[in-house]
Amino acid sequence: MNLLDFARGPALKVAMAIFCLGVTWRILAFALLRIRRDMNRPRASVLKFLGGGLLTVGSRSWPHREFIGRTGAGEALGYSYHIGLFALVLLFTPHILFLGSLFGVTWPGVPSSLITVISVLTLTLFLAVLFRRVTNPVMRMLSNFDDYFSWFITMLVMVTGLAATAHFGAPYETLLAVHILSVDMLLVWFPFGKLMHAFYIFPSRALNGALLARKGATS
């Protein structure tokens, strides 16, 4: 078994298993904690309660008018690199084929030259994000190992992916194997750190939004 076979064979299988079990456990663990019933009379109807949750899922995608002057640039940076990441994962033909082999569905990709442009842009944004995290006093204070390691491992996946498509520095098979191994590492790390926000973001917005709507509070 060569490195590539290992990376996309047993290593990927183990990583996927850790990912699935870890994510499931991390979500199920909430169920072991107490769930309190709110006995205070709601202001909103059930419809407004649910609507408030859905509305907040959308409305928190961009800052309220009152905050935009202070947070607009930071949020734009954050969303930009996320869009870049999604584009790379979902629009690069080899990725589509890989996802197709897992889920049985494929879709058209974009030319690899465009993917290279998106990769470089996303990498640049990712460096800007790190720069911001270490220079902004609030973010620096809040940051811990999880923030930096999650950044590092995502960056590693992007860099190795870019190197593989550019056939840079080593034979393609080796570069591809290293790229897939970095993805395996990301999958293993995923349930343990902040990458879990991918699963939390919409339920969190919906839940908090619905609870605020229940009171008729601002959301």
Binding site: W25, R26, L28, A29, F30, A31, L33, R34, I35, R36, D38, M39, N40, R41, R43, T56, V57, R60, S61, P63, H64, E66, F67, R70, T71, G74, E75, G78, N136, P137, V138, M139, R140, M141, L142, S143, N144, D147, F192, K194, M196, H197, Y200, I201, P203, S204, R205, A206, L207, N208, G209, L211, L212, K215, G216, A217, T218, S219
Partner: protein
Amino acid sequence: MSDTSGVLTANLAPAEARSPEARVAGAMSGFAREIGALSAFRLESCIHCGICADACHFYIATEDPQYTPIWKVEPFKQAYKRESSAFAPLFRLLGLKHEVKADQLGQWQHLLFDSCNMCGRCSLICPMGIDVAALIEQARHAMFDAGLAPKELYEKAAHQQVTGQPEASAEPYRDQLLAIGARFEVDIPLDKSDVEVMLCVPRSDIEHYPGAVASLARVMRHLGVSCTFRSDALIAENYGYYAGGKEWQREISRRLIDQAIACKAKILLVPECGHAYAALRWEAADLYGKPLPFKVLQVTEFLADELKAGRLKLGAAATGAVTFQDPCESARKGGVNEAPRALMKAMSLDLHEMKNHGGFSFCCGGGGGVLDIERAAPLRYRTMESKLREIDETGAKTFLTSCSDCRRTFDDAQAHFTWNKTPQSLLELVAANLIGAAAPP
């Protein structure tokens, strides 16, 4: 950071034999055990983006990162991760999350009490949607259990849970209430039974703003609503809520609940007091253990309903341009945004909104018990400067609010800054502009 000397000792019950360190350890593990799925989910969802800082006036005024709202719960996140998160055994085994120590938590007293109004503005900005203010309230409970509630709040809460009032008064509040009735020539309904509405008042209204008390009685009399104050539950405030003493908060709320049930009230009317509304409307039933057998309404909410039903008619008030301070607890966090504006519209007021108003308004600076914490005053004044500027920028001549604590905070600011505006009560303005004869007794 604040000086916390003496606080631990002050808060220890006589029978408390544990050391401060043991007490803090107990409080933190209690926090982690009792956290509940919702708060755990909120803590887990934080992505350390720090955006919540940009909603907090303590951070905006100082640019000091320690005032970042989510940072205020950092030790509690640490305790939760170590004790009850999904990978807690791993965190403990590898020593990744340390036990929270008494000296560390002592430093957080300044962050959770002196520099947090519990105003909830931070809950509106989080891209993950986290209700940060709810986490801070829960953290205050643990601080109380750790013996780290500020002395002023602790003592008032302790006094109130025993006597029903936060401080000793020269004369019983019941007598003061009747004296206000006599002075303002308005009937004060007291200790009646079988009424529609039970009334209560902020003690600061009795002591500082008797006109607001008289106005409440006058408006209710005008509407012909059967109502009563109850001698055993006159005071609306809840210092247990501020101090983080959940049991005491329960006892203080229970006093009002029991009396409302005793007089068979269908409505418990919360006066112009933001946190009293939060404590009674959105927390009392949970602490009581079952739904309340009556409605809890804020006074402007009640009056707006009367207005809509055509039972309340108001004349135009000659105030000139006005601006309105939305109390955070009743407006942003409690949903009472439209009612005060409906009343102002009915009085044909020329309302000039502040730049940040309604649900997005900045706190007066005194909320969350901050006004009562003496050592917090310099920071509070610094924080208030932008608020006062916003008020001035409206060009309004009259400055209204619907919260007794906001009023006290702005009165204090008026003296401190030699500011030229005096906050007035919306309720008092309503009472002064009633149209039509009073309903028959």
